[in-house]
Symmetry: C2
Subunit: 333 residues, 2 copies
């Protein structure tokens, strides 16, 4: 089997991040020709055609592909996307036209779930208040409600995709009772992860001690979580968003959080970077992280490896992992 | 069976904390006579003798008992200590003289282990730097090494008592390889918790990504963890202390931490409250919490319940849980 030339629309730092630590797949790596994504789409097309490339490697910061991509580059068969989101990368019509597309699938789901668990514990343990007390005020006594445990608590998850499923595994030794709201996910998956199906978002928010937001961002879910849901979180309860910032109405969340009655952990925001004057900053019942619920530095090469394994499978005619068909495209976060 | 009068050397707030949420054991609770521990030992003796009490309930802040306690109060058979440490409460000789003593045993071990896991994740996720960046500097980009995952990491624990054992259960879904250094703990316990025995502290510190300090404080372990061990933590590695502050030479730790090369999570200190001008404060690779690795507010009544169950067992002539004999006393933290 001969590996055909591969064009990578990736910056040098991104390329290095994903492929630096990989010691296998030499033959594939030697066939990758990086094209600076700062250069134009026309230049990318020129390079693809010059190499008669069948495979295009994309990721964060790649050149966006227009509807005419398959006409412009008739040799292309497969776009191997090394990260997750790709609606900004290519229009739905290219998939309908038969372009094979994969992304990182569930490779980093446990890594993101870990960030969600950390945000939950940071809320339970009053982490923002602890840092402000110990590091800024040089004090000792917390000045919010005392820390609580996550053991034996009720956890409700909005969304039940790969990350939420992995989160249930991390929660297992905490003996939490877990429920989730996600109408499209079949019962068998709920059962496999010992999770109860919630039939309404209202009940999810009011019947749990901890609410975790992990729902995909779509037209349907945009600003879905507003005041009427957030007001249902019980006093002393925890609300964490490790999914998509735009699923939450941030103005409503600011208002509810500023009352200081619930504890909030946020990794994602309606606009990123979070605005310097966001009212969320400085609230000691609110723990903020700068969208780090993605692959951590030490696990990013797992995504690179996954992409290379898919490229190998493509050449062997084997089935690929995490193929994005039209329905997956439509459900993307 | 008749419950005999019980004297409690507990302040009102402590008594409430432990027994407020308990809805069972009415008969025992009705026999408890609290005696303000601010009053003298002589007054406590007077009350015990007035009630001819067999059982004394103690906890944080109780009156210390002298060697003459059993001569002073000849009816006393059993000291039910609702918390953990008790070397400050009573001398070893009282146990040798046949006084029955229990403490909270392993009731809150999972709760403390949870705090240890949180400190580990706070180090991995650069929590102090995140709070300072987001809340104080109103920024977005961390200015320490990027976050790392705990998944698949090597975790080394100094000490392998109840808390360490519970920590291995919380770490299970992270697929860490766990080792521990604790010569007195038998092989069977290491095997039961899928933990490798480390044969030297030096190797424990240098061969792991995360080191967790959970060793008991004794004459032998005082300031045992100093520069020569701390210097072995690998660059980017994590050192967490959720055990006893005095097991670590804090001056050495300050020096190693101030270099900013390792990430440190501390819940306990050589002097508590931590001094306002401690050089540990303000270091953004150091996450500090004010000794909260104990029972959280929502689980403290579990300790109260455990004490009441022991008092019931005492009256029924059943075996008690967490009896402190001479050897347990000697190994206490």
């Amino acid at each position: 089997m001969k590996i055909t030339p591969i064009i990578a629309s990736l910056s040098k730092p991104t390329y290095k991040q994903f492929f630096r630590d990989i010691t296998e797949y030499h033959e594939i790596l030697s066939q990758i020709h990086p094209v600076d994504p700062e250069l134009s789409y026309a230049y990318l097309v020129e390079q693809i055609n010059a190499y008669r490339a069948e495979v295009l490697l994309t990721g964060w910061g790649s050149v966006s592909l227009p509807e005419s991509f398959l006409q412009d580059c008739p040799t292309i068969r497969y776009v191997c996307h090394i990260t997750g989101e790709l609606r900004w990368l290519l229009p739905r019509s290219l998939i309908q036209d038969g372009l094979l597309v994969t992304n990182w699938g569930s490779v980093i789901s446990d890594n993101v779930a870990e960030a969600a668990l950390f945000l939950i514990l940071a809320c339970c343990r009053r982490a923002a208040n602890a840092v402000m007390t110990m590091h800024i005020r040089h004090g000792w006594d917390l000045n919010v409600e005392p820390p609580v445990s996550l053991l034996d608590k009720r956890v409700g998850i909005h969304g039940f995709g790969n990350v939420a499923q992995q989160l249930t595994l991390l929660l297992k030794p905490f003996r939490c009772s877990i429920s989730a709201y996600s109408p499209p996910v079949p019962d068998a998956i709920f059962e496999a992860f010992s999770t109860k199906r919630e039939t309404s978002l209202e009940h999810l928010f009011e019947a749990n001690d901890v609410i975790v937001e992990l729902e995909a961002f779509t037209n349907h879910t945009e600003r879905l979580v507003g005041k009427s849901l957030l007001d249902r979180v019980r006093p002393g309860g925890v609300f964490v968003n490790a999914g998509r910032g735009k699923v939450v109405c941030e103005q409503d969340l600011e208002e509810v959080a500023s009352r200081g009655i619930i504890f909030v952990g946020l990794d994602v925001f309606s606009q990123e970077p979070l605005l310097p004057d966001s009212p969320l900053r400085g609230l000691e019942n609110v723990f903020l992280t700068p969208h780090f619920a993605g692959p951590t530095a030490d696990r990013i090469s797992l995504c690179g490896k996954h992409a290379l394994a898919n490229i190998l499978a493509y050449h062997l005619g084997d089935p690929l992992d995490s193929v994005i068909g039209v329905s997956e495209y439509d459900r993307m976060t």
